[in-house]
């Protein structure tokens, strides 16, 4: 028995995407080839692009397919930075995904960039006053502002329209990987210059994502070669994955309101049951406006890696903050940015609910939780005594 509570890491692939993948994988042809086979696959890719653009509120030509959300984020960060040699400041927030923070750090280390990280308020949103001050004082030096659409660990939606308003002429990128298909997202209405989305978070396959780039803007490429995507991204188009991406997004968005309500009800039920069962639990995740399924909770006196090991043993898949490349658990930078102490961050789990979860599963998790927390506390006590 596995109870999967890690939908923010990756969501189950939906049937529409599997069918699309299966059909498309049997078709021969490189979409960049001019012959009949190539043209046939090209049509499928472009049909998918058009449909995806409609779902996004974007123009088809604004979609640049990439191999991952990380690649889309890297392309936005580095691509904008290198477009403006006279501007060296990049503004991000303290709780961005590592796919944003790390390329910025790399530019700081190797390309003379300066990074300004927006602090996070206790409500789990970026500090807009701080942003306004930075834009006012340093506006002419800022190459890019990148703020995530919703936070992947605590679920809070960010005031992106406000960011765009404050930014004025400065390009704004938003990592919408967690938001797309779960909450309202319209590229044109939002007014951002660029946005990242990824298929496997919406019920599509791994290895396909996109950077949506406003018409008329240019980016410096980070991959060079055939120039398949607007001369900005090179690499053979992954036709089956692109078609499946669109199929998955179409399916998810058609059911979005229903799914949102169902998942949010499960989340609220989970949180209230958790609080009753373990009165000292601290809920770190945002409730509204937020992604519907994120529960981030601290269990005082425990360490998250022990909780994860024990939950795994009970058949429950959850996650904690991030791990370093050797797999060593680290306190979540998101929770630290929220103002939690290191020990509070170390004792926290993210349990992300999806449409496949049931109330019965939540009940089962609640049943095992007290014993899991107790054992994690026992292990913590002895490890502290060593």
């Amino acid at each position: 028995m596995t109870i999967y509570l890690d939908h923010a890491a990756t969501a189950p692939i939906n049937d529409a995407a599997i069918d699309a993948l299966n059909t498309q994988m049997r078709k021969l042809g490189n979409p960049s080839s001019t012959h009949n086979s190539g043209r046939s696959v090209r049509k499928d890719v472009e049909d998918a692009r058009h449909k995806l653009a409609q779902l996004l509120g974007a123009n088809p030509s604004e979609i640049i397919f990439t191999g991952s959300g990380t690649e889309a984020d890297n392309l936005a960060i580095k691509g904008f930075f290198w477009q403006f040699p006279e501007r060296n400041v990049i503004v991000t927030s303290a709780f961005e995904h590592h796919a944003i923070l790390d390329p910025v750090e790399w530019l700081v280390a190797h390309e003379g960039a300066e990074e300004i990280r927006l602090p996070i308020t206790k409500f789990g949103t970026i500090d807009l006053e701080f942003l306004a001050k930075v834009v006012k004082e340093r506006g002419a030096e800022i190459a890019l502002i990148s703020v995530m659409h919703s936070n992947n660990e605590i679920g809070s939606l960010q005031p992106i329209s406000e960011v765009v308003r404050i930014a004025g002429e400065i390009p704004v990128h938003t990592d919408a990987v967690q938001s797309f298909s779960k909450v309202e997202f319209n590229f044109a209405e939002l007014g951002v210059s660029a946005a990242s989305i990824s298929a496997h978070k919406v019920g599509g396959p791994h290895g396909i994502a996109a950077l949506i780039l406003k018409h008329g803007l240019d980016l410096t490429p980070i991959l060079h070669g055939g120039g398949q995507e607007r001369e900005i991204r090179s690499g053979t188009l992954n036709a089956p994955a692109i078609v499946a991406f669109t199929a998955a997004a179409e399916y998810a968005i058609a059911n979005r309101d229903h799914n949102f309500k169902k998942v949010r009800e499960l989340r609220d039920y989970f949180i209230s049951e958790l609080r009753q069962t373990l009165p000292d639990v601290v809920i770190n995740s945002a409730l509204d406006p937020a992604l519907p399924g994120i529960v981030n909770a601290s269990f005082p006196g425990t360490e998250s890696d022990a909780l994860l090991l024990l939950l795994d043993g009970e058949g429950v898949s959850a996650s904690a903050g991030s791990a370093c490349n050797a797999g060593v658990p680290r306190p979540s930078h998101v929770l630290l940015a929220l103002g939690l102490s290191e020990s509070q961050a170390y004792s926290s789990l993210r349990l992300s609910i999806g449409i496949s979860n049931t109330k019965k599963e939540i009940d089962q998790v609640i049943t095992v939780m007290p014993s899991v927390v107790e054992r994690a506390r026992n292990a913590f006590v002895v490890s502290e005594l060593v």
Binding site: D305, L309, G327, V328, N378, A379, V381, V382, S383, V386
Partner: protein
């Protein structure tokens, strides 16, 4: 039983974990991250603490079909093993960090955490055997004399031994490699780790010199007469003959050996081979790997002072604070700080830290 398999990424711990699963235990694989900066420790082929090693361990766990996690023991390892290693050298002793790691990390921090989490014990790829005898659960030498690790495990007390499982003790290394291959574990041909895992270059002397200093000091004979200069006392070991750089020949022309290192005066004392002879050893901080021998009574047994040293026939006694050993034949060259391990035949009786010799 529910067991935690400590998986270094090497062939031995992988096969040990597989055997524990086959024996019907519920096993979870754990790799210990011992460095907060894995790149600083020894690289893949030679050690057990790198990112590559953790990937190897994960891959082995996947092939065996057990869950796998990484436990961050870097802070504990640094404090208990690395700092202790430096402090011992700074005091003029010669510690064995592997003994210390087994005593304080693998069968303390890890075992305690395992128990807190509801597990019964820890399984490792160490070469030693455990038997249920009339003395209770006792530890014995491995069948493969070349791989026998009972010496470095002799720091485990009975409680620690109760939670320790060594499935490889009855097998020779070559067979373990063959078995790894049969089980589809691609670490089958990975070279054995050697030396000290936290000294990446393998140059222990240089590593110590970098941390403890390399002040030039006198090399003297037993009468205190200066014969030359050394480049950092910490880099010499008792019994060392080469690399002393002494130009004054000994009276009889015999070679000279390091007899003593005195950190406080930064002096290295040298002398003839006969001066290295040790026939009495006193060890402190005794640990018994089973019932403690009757106090203040002479027992016959074997003493071993190095990981792969020869067991030396001896008479020993203990008074609850120290172990006193009288060797049948003298040994040459023994430093304070080394581990003194007592055997009764192939059974490990216990261990102590060498405090004084005569």
């Amino acid at each position: 039983m529910k067991l935690i398999a400590a998986m270094s990424g090497g062939v031995d711990s992988a096969v040990a974990a597989a055997r524990a699963v086959e024996a019907g235990h519920e096993v979870i694989g754990v790799h210990l991250a011992l460095s907060s900066n894995p790149k600083k420790y020894r690289s893949g082929a030679r050690g057990c603490c790198t990112i590559e090693d953790s990937h190897d361990a994960r891959r082995a766990a996947d092939v065996i079909g057990i869950p796998f996690y990484i436990w961050d023991m870097a802070a504990e390892f640094h404090e208990e093993v690395v700092e202790n290693f430096l402090a011992e050298y700074a005091d003029g002793r010669t510690p064995n960090p592997c003994l210390r790691c087994n005593e304080k990390i693998k069968f303390a921090a890890v075992l305690d955490r395992a128990k807190g989490l509801g597990f019964d014990g820890v399984v490792t790829g160490h070469y030693a055997q455990m038997f249920e005898t009339e003395l209770g659960r006792t530890m014995h030498r491995a069948v493969d004399p070349a791989k026998d690790q009972s010496y470095v495990l002799a720091v485990l007390n009975t409680e620690q031994l109760a939670g320790a499982h060594f499935p490889l003790g009855d097998t020779v290394k070559d067979e373990v490699r063959i078995e790894a291959k049969r089980r589809g574990l691609y670490v089958a041909n990975k070279p054995d780790s050697h030396d000290i895992c936290f000294v990446p270059s393998g140059d222990n002397a240089g590593w110590l010199r970098d941390r403890l200093g390399s002040d030039v000091g006198p090399i003297v004979d037993s009468d205190g007469k200066q014969l030359g200069e050394h480049k950092g006392a910490y880099t010499y070991t008792i019994g060392q003959r080469r690399g002393l750089g002494i130009t004054v020949p000994a009276a009889g022309g015999e070679p000279r050996y390091v007899l003593k290192i005195e950190p406080k005066t930064n002096t290295v004392v040298v002398g003839g081979h006969e001066a290295l002879a040790v026939s009495k050893i006193v060890g402190d901080k005794p640990i018994w790997c089973g019932p403690a021998p009757v106090t203040n009574t002479e027992h016959r047994g074997f003493a071993q002072v190095r990981a792969h040293g020869t067991p030396l026939a001896c008479t020993y006694s203990q008074d609850g604070v120290e172990i006193s050993v009288a060797l049948d034949e003298p040994l040459f060259g023994l430093a304070a700080g080394q581990g003194l391990v007592i055997f009764d035949g192939d059974r490990v009786v216990g261990s102590a830290t060498v405090a004084r010799t005569q």
